[in-house]
Point group: C2
Chain length 122, copies 2
């Protein structure tokens, strides 16, 4: 489960926020969109090695439901879909800032390696 609720009832704001962020790749998606502004599906996919198409679409749909991500579909062939952050997504990213800094500090403290070349610290 980890956190199954999705849409409360919550015990506090942290609960409500974690419900929206937890998911193996959501933090990464948030970060990719923060950095690049707009990204297509395949760009996101290539940007985060290891993610499957299934998980990526699933996470993106949930984040769209949660009002964090905007999905723009262009009626073209071949299809083009662009993802970007909504206002709420951007404020969430700001709220995650201190947590990212804390995590970075922890990584330094514990000597935990980073996975990729790109090391955002939220």
């Amino acid at each position: 489960m980890a956190r199954a609720p999705r849409y409360g009832p919550y015990t506090c704001g942290i609960d409500a926020a974690l419900d929206v962020v937890s998911g193996k790749w959501k933090g990464f998606i948030l970060w990719e969109l923060e950095v690049h502004g707009v990204r297509r599906f395949a760009e996101l996919r290539r940007g985060m090695p290891g993610v499957s198409e299934k998980m990526l679409t699933q996470h993106l749909r949930e984040m769209e439901e949660d009002g964090l991500v905007h999905r723009e579909v262009y009626a073209e062939v071949p299809p083009r879909v662009e993802y970007s952050l909504t206002e709420h997504g951007r404020t969430l990213n700001q709220a995650l800032g201190p947590l990212g800094a804390w995590g970075g500090e922890r990584m330094r403290r514990e000597g935990l390696e980073a996975a990729t070349a790109e090391i955002p610290q939220g």
Copy 2:
């Protein structure tokens, strides 16, 4: 899984922080210890209705491993065990502040109810 790693490799600080916070009751434990300073096992248990003893001990052990929680055992009969936040636990709580505020805002926005009488907002 939700997030299985536990001790990296991480892609960023947010990853590293979420790894430590995710777990159904961890936010709540953090909050209880923040508010009360020191709490015994049974006090924590009573403070968060719905948690099982198994999950509570399991989460507390992990948080102890992660250096967030200090566990003090008194060689008495009946046994007495006191839990409190470490320095890292307290700084984590501070880093969670903005996230809790964001979550609270989201709850208000979406009209999501809170579960208990006590409504911390991290």
